[in-house]
Symmetry: C2
Subunit: 253 residues, 2 copies
């Protein structure tokens, strides 16, 4: 294991009580003094600090959008990404079983450990220090956030994209199912008649196939290069559909 001092440098924070950092890095598979209580504390200080940052940065958006943005920024995969930038896996203290099964790469363990570190900093030096450490990691991310889209699912995004152009909503149709009942795959077609767009995508559930089809439909709409209100130009650029990396069914096949 690499010395935690290099992690402190990456965090730009020096622990007064080094045993707190050690505990934050300790998975429950390793020893009894593990990081799960610190994770509880860190999760809540993180949620609050990110809430306050979003509140300040986006003065005009409503609380529903603030919640959606925060949920996306503090979700496991987002935390695990930050943990990777800190090379956190090098410092983890895991039990033998977890070590062998690659626990140091597992997003859940990385995310939980990062939260535990925030909790440990709060215990070590109080709120301001924890806030500073979190803000330092999150500021570059929050600067780049698009509050209109982050964390929205593809079907919602497609719907908003079409509403913004005053076009009818897309329709989703299951066009095929494959496989046995316990392992079924669905093909869903997403159709936007006003733009002559029909794309289809597979998924292990109807919902998953719809979301993937919506993702492809968004790409198809964007490939048309429509500005707002320019829907009437859609038909002239129909060939843009064909540049997509997905099978685009022809309307009159």
């Amino acid at each position: 294991m690499v010395s935690p001092a290099t992690l402190e440098t990456a965090l730009d924070y020096r622990f007064q009580d080094a045993s707190l950092l050690e505990q934050a890095l300790t998975h429950r598979s390793h020893s009894a003094r593990h990081n799960e209580r610190l994770e509880f504390l860190g999760d809540s200080v993180l949620n609050f600090v990110v809430a306050a940052m979003l509140f300040k940065r986006f003065a005009k958006i409503d609380e529903g959008d603030l919640s959606r943005l925060r949920a996306n920024l503090v979700k496991q995969s987002s935390l695990a990404e930050i943990a990777q930038k800190l090379s956190l896996s090098q410092y983890l203290r895991l039990g033998e079983g977890e070590l062998k099964s690659g626990g140091f790469r597992r997003p859940s363990i990385l995310a939980d450990t990062l939260e535990a570190i925030f909790g440990a900093i709060f215990l070590d030096s109080g709120f301001d220090a924890a806030q500073k450490a979190i803000a330092r990691l999150y500021m570059p991310i929050i600067q780049g956030v698009d509050p209109k889209t982050l964390g929205k699912d593809p079907k919602t995004l497609l719907q908003e994209l079409l509403q913004g152009r005053k076009l009818d909503l897309p329709t989703y149709t299951v066009v095929a199912t494959h496989g046995a009942a316990h392992n079924q795959m669905f093909d869903v077609e997403c159709s936007i008649p006003a733009l002559d767009i029909k794309v289809s995508a597979p998924g292990s559930s109807r919902r998953a196939a719809e979301q993937l089809a919506a993702t492809q439909a968004i790409a198809a709409v964007q490939a048309l290069g429509l500005g707002k209100g320019a829907a009437r130009r859609g038909r002239a650029r129909k060939s843009a559909q064909l540049s997509l990396p997905v099978a685009v069914s022809q309307e009159n096949k």
Copy 2:
């Protein structure tokens, strides 16, 4: 509406920017500058402060229990109770419709407004002031918390009560259903053979009836006055069942 100054006294906090308190007290039905963004902020500072208080007070309990306790302390009904102690309904700024329909008594509005006030204090004076205000309201509550039981449902509590006495788990049986399909009522019997306890309770779902039956069974067990490991005295005190305010079915009816 009573002057917000008396509310500030109840909160033991004086706002530098009085318009923040006004906004925190303003429901969205009243005007555009309402409290929903402040509620988002206040909810997250509250969650964090209560997490930190529980972490400190209960040094030995695990993160699952900490989460359960916190969820119970910050849930709507708990917040509404605190709001009532502050006489918050006197200060609410509601639209006409909400006023007429008694919105000032609605637990959701009271709870949301209290959260918005915490958010407003944070904006007005920073984290320490918000923490102080929250801690002042929550400390007496947290002092009285039983970490073993708070927020557990009756079936879980009954199970733990019996396990602590090394007795078999209770059984739940639907003994009757009444009413039409869309409006059915269930009678569920909870039986603890080792203690000769059988109680039954109604509910609009099987689950609700089971929980109510468990509540009554807990009362029946407690009425037996058993110390831990004193289960064998149960039969001698069978008559204690009859003192319950609920119908106790006789074993051999």
